[in-house]
Each structure stands twice: as C-alpha cells, then as structure tokens.
C-alpha cells in the first residue's frame, strides 16, 4: 500500500534514471526539498517530458516509495519560458537554483523560500538583458537573507562602527570579509590581515573547536579553495552603497554600471561558498557570460 501526498513545487535539478526516467529534485512549498521519479519523462510522447524540465512549477500528486517517491500526476502552473531567450537569463536561473539547493531544507515547509525563488526567477525572466546581473545579485542577497546568513553591510562586523560610504570620494574604501561576516572598516581589515591566525582561531573556537597550534599556512592549505579565509577584499563607496540597498524587496538601481554588480556578485559568491561550505559551480559560467567582451554583444 503506497501513500500519496500533494505538493506544489519547482524543479531544480534533474538526473537521468535508466532508459526513460528522470529523478527530479523539487523545492516544494509544503515539504521542502524532495526527490521523486518522473517515469517515462524522456519518452517522446510522455506528458511528463515538458513538466519535468528545470524551473517548471507543477501541482503534483506523489506516491511515496520505499527508496524513491514517484510522481503520479503533474499539472504545470508556471514554466518561465522567457528564461530560455538569453544565455544570461538561463545562467542566472541555474545559479539561483544551485544556491537554493544548498540552502533548502527537507521534510519541512519552505513556503517563503519557494515564493522568493519564484519571485526572482520571474524578475529575471522579465528583465532587460542588461539588468540580469543586477537582478541576480539582488536575488542572491535576498536568498542569503531568508536563510538568515546575509552579510552585515551597514556596520563593521568587527568594531560595529557605522559604515557610511562617501560616494563623492573616489578613494573611499571599506573591507569585506566572508569570515568576519560582511563589511568591515579598512582599519579593521588591515588589523585582521595582520592577525589572520588569531582571527581564524577565534572563529574556530566559537564553532566549538579551538586549534591554536595550526600554523596560518597550514590553515589555508587545509581549507578547500572555496572555503579559504583569504583573500579579504576591499570595496569602494558606490559598491557598498548599492550593497546596503540589497536588503530591500525592490531593486532600486538596476541600471548602475555592470562592474559594480560584477564586484558585488563576486563578494556574495565568495561569501555564500564560505557559509554553505561548498562551491557554487554555476558561477563559472557567470564569469564567461558576463565577461565584458561577451556582455557587449546582444
């Protein structure tokens, strides 16, 4: 006797199973991340073909199985066909899907995350192609925020001093450090760099594990590349000013120049990789597709 349950979910990942099936990883409102088989989805005449595609939102009826659940009915509510119009939109969508796969929980409702992801996929779909990077960066910040790990950008993470970027001063700078939790004053950043070992030891001690004997070089060598505490970065006034706006639900300055968005995306990527302790693989394609020479052509 198999039990069935209903869910509304968006497909985030698909892997092939056997000759004709697909295993989908789906973010559902009701049960968080689930994995379920779409039987026969790769057959030419299967109704599951289109419905099992990435970013397709379905109203699902699912049968619980011993090892894997099975989709018995699916009715499509949304499929974001416009994402497929440009490489930038497709890449941005896949980046968000990967981030959500890193942060979503299983076996509990993920309604807020579900709505947030859909909202931002819709914005990227409708966006002008030159604003895709801005919308992507905004979405990354918002996803981190809903996970409760958004970087602190209004106050220095180390001294709690208020950070007020002076956009009229081209030399104004602050620091940014994933390990510190976000923005820091330039003095704090320099201090931190000088005491790299001390800081990493302190962070480890709050994690319940104190290993002060570890030499700094060993600490960096032992960390996987996406987790390495260095490099700490600097951030200019315009970048920080835009950063401080990203917590708002609406994006206020999508048309600000793309180097700013590129810089912020890099910082958020480094930060997200540090927090989720895994690389964001889709990001490599972001580098290719938003590189200046490619983004100038249509």
């Amino acid at each position: 006797m198999s039990r069935t349950y209903k869910a509304i979910g968006i497909n985030l990942k698909a892997t092939l199973l056997g000759e004709a099936d697909r295993v989908l990883t789906i973010l559902t409102k009701e049960h968080g991340l689930i994995r379920a088989v779409a039987m026969g989805a790769r057959k030419q005449n299967s109704k599951m073909g289109g419905r099992s595609g990435l970013f397709v939102v379905n109203n699902l009826l699912i049968a619980q199985g011993k090892t894997l659940d099975k989709i018995t009915q699916a009715e499509t509510l949304e499929s974001y066909p416009g994402l497929g119009r440009t490489l930038k939109k497709l890449t941005a969508g896949q980046y968000l899907a990967e981030l959500v796969l890193n942060q979503a929980l299983s076996e509990q409702p993920q309604e807020d995350l579900f709505y947030l992801l859909n909202e931002h996929l819709g914005r990227i779909e409708r966006s002008h192609d030159t604003h895709v990077l801005a919308h992507l960066t905004h979405a990354i910040f918002q996803l981190l925020a809903i996970a409760g790990v958004a970087p602190q950008v209004h106050q220095c993470c180390l001294t709690q001093a208020l950070l007020k970027p002076d956009v009229s001063d081209p030399h104004w700078q602050a620091g940014f450090s994933a390990i510190a939790g976000g923005a820091v004053t330039l003095e704090a950043l320099e201090h931190m760099q000088a005491q790299d070992l001390l800081l990493s030891a302190r962070v480890r001690s709050t994690g319940g594990e104190y290993r002060a004997t570890l030499a700094p070089t060993a600490a960096i060598a032992a960390a996987p590349p996406h987790r390495s505490p260095s490099p700490n970065m600097t951030i200019n006034a315009v970048e920080l000013a835009v950063f401080q706006q990203l917590a708002h639900a609406e994006l206020s300055q999508p048309s600000i120049s793309s180097p700013v968005w590129l810089a912020l995306e890099r910082l958020l990527r480094q930060y997200a990789q540090y927090y989720f302790d895994r690389p964001i693989r889709s990001a490599a394609l972001i580098d290719t597709c938003f590189a200046p020479e490619l983004s100038e052509s249509p």
């Binding site: 990942k13 109704k47 289109g50 499509t76 499929s79 066909p81 497929g84 440009t86 290719t288 490619l294």
Partner: protein
Amino acid sequence: MALVEAKLQVGYCSVCGHLSAEPVCDICRAPNRDSKTICIVADSRDVIALEKTREYRGKYHVLGGLISPIDGIGPEQLSIQQLVRRVSQQKVEEAILAISPSVEGETTTLYVGHLLKPFTRVTRIAFGLPMGGDLEYADEVTLARALEGRRDLE
C-alpha cells in the same frame, strides 16, 4: 551499457567526435556529403537518429554532452573549441544546432550559437508537437514552446 562498451573498443572520429572505428569516420570521409553544412549534436546517438531520417546530407559535430553548470559541466569539458576552430577555418555556410530543448540544451545552444555567429549562419531545429499527436494531449510546457517557436505560413 552496450554503448559504453562500444565506445571503449571503437573510439572517436578526430574531426567530428562521432563514434568511429577509423581515425576519421565514414560521414566525414564521404565525398558526396556537403561539408559546408555542419549539424551540431550533443551525443553520437543523436547522429544515429538523424541519419535514420535520410534527410540530412551535411556533416556533423558531436559535442560530447551538454553544458550543465549545476553538475559542474562547463563549456571547456565539451568539444566546443574544436567546433569553433572547424567552423572558422573551413568554409562552413550553415551551422545547425540540433540539441534537445531542456535548460541544459538551451544553455548549450545559446552558448555555442553565440560563438559561431561571427563565422557563419547559425540555425536551430524546430521543436514542437510530436507528429500524429493530438494537440489536446500535449503537455502545457511543450505547447508553450511550440507557440513560441511559431513561424509564418509560407
């Protein structure tokens, strides 16, 4: 499984990447095939399927997979550079992208198309409803795609 074993014994064509017992495959060596047209596919199985139609008389290029950022498969893992070199150095008049309409397929199509456009005319095969299938039985995603790919009646 059978295909994996065949690959181990057979090897790939050094020109197009299709399965071949010889260094250059039958299709690439055929003198009567049009080398000004290259059809780009993800996998050797797609070449076999297209050959069954007996409609296509050009040559092929097998990418060896699809770009799938989430799975860590980037453009550099596919034979895209070889393709660009082939198209830019030979007198190719049309590059036809024949790649499945999934997110990974679209990503690959757009990426490769973008790289080839400076050198040649780039087209893609049409996707829509299966022959003999009733419209009312088609799924919503396929129908939406078919609508998006509509064209003028000649």
